[in-house]
Symmetry: C2
Subunit: 189 residues, 2 copies
DNA sequence: TATGATGAGTACGGTAACGTTTCGATGGAG
DNA sequence: CTCCATCGAAACGTTACCGTACTCATCATA
């Protein structure tokens, strides 16, 4: 976006509040996510928050929606390396950004709030798109058997990375990406 | 910590409180998990809670620890059906018990409390054991190539089920277990 | 049956977030 | 330059949870 566009008074405060909301969620989790805490962090008035968002849940939705950024779609000509690029980028996201902690809080929230659950499902769908694009392209090129469902392949390829980070709560070993691809992408010898 | 037959006075209240703690966590998540709420639900006095647990975190740890129950280890003679039994049981756990909602809350809590993180890692390890047992037995029988790491296989087999439930937030299709096994356990036709 | 533990119920002062309101300051548009 | 929508700050009464303390009932056992 053209950064020199003047940021209107209202939009400026809005952006600061959204950024502060993510910081609070990252630091203190869902428990610490209150209107007061976000207002403090943003250097904003509570009145401003309530002017823009009726509830803390609505604010949370906007804040999480603002975090989304799709991974760039690689095009090396080979499924294998395309997928490897994507998964490696994703591991970086999991290990070196606030993303996973935000997601952990959000997953819990989405269990109990239907509006958050909807957004969560939508964000997940958008997050999967680059990988699905790569797989579809591979199928068009004949590099991938047509009896393999791209949706299930996407599950199988990305799930272990999530699992390591959120469930096993352990670092992701460097060879995991390679191993996952080897098992799932059917490079059978 | 007295006898085994009669439930000593103390142990009775303790069990009721732990059960109430899980109900509160299931219904209201981490946000609603307070000493007062648990005491109310248990029909117990706050003083009783504080007598047994110094903090809400300590109570949460004991409550989550009490939920753990290992899946029975099947022994059909074939890796394939053994694994299928285990994964199917696990899907039932994910779809028809409070387990996943409890876990969602716990994962968020474990992101910020080291003691909870330790317990989380330990519970995950114990949950994996039946599958690891089955895989080890298969290897001893020569039904499984020795160059496949059982730990990674366990990741690949269970991760998609977690993923569907927590990340994709979608029902687990009946054929997913079969598909996962087909891809991961290398029964290539 | 007498006694010591244990628990339920209640009350307490302290803290924090709630959601709303008022007021004075400020910056962008006409 | 003027106007006015928007902002930050502060105060408000309300509600909820905190952690502790005290009383009285109940059960376990010797």
């Amino acid at each position: 976006m053209a950064g020199s566009q003047p940021i209107s008074r209202g939009a400026g405060a809005r952006r600061r509040v959204l950024a502060a909301a993510l910081q609070v969620l990252d630091d203190d989790g869902l428990t610490g996510f209150t209107m007061e805490a976000v207002a403090r962090r943003a250097g904003a008035s509570k009145a401003t928050l309530y002017r823009h968002w009726p509830t803390a849940g609505a604010l949370l939705i906007d804040a999480m929606d603002a975090t989304f950024q799709p991974l760039p779609v690689p095009d090396t000509g080979h499924v294998h390396s395309d997928v490897e690029h994507l998964l490696t980028s994703f591991v970086t996201l999991l290990e070196h950004t606030p993303f996973p902690r935000l997601l952990a809080a959000f997953i819990d929230a989405a269990e109990r709030d239907p509006a958050l659950a909807d957004l969560h499902a939508d964000l997940t769908r958008r997050r999967r798109e680059p990988l699905l694009t790569v797989l579809a392209r591979a199928r068009d090129r004949g590099q991938l058997s047509t009896d393999l469902d791209p949706e299930i392949l996407t599950d199988l390829l990305t799930a272990p990375l999530f699992y390591r980070r959120f469930v096993a709560h352990q670092p992701i070993p460097p060879q995991l990406v390679t191993e996952v691809i080897r098992h799932v992408l059917a490079t059978r010898r």
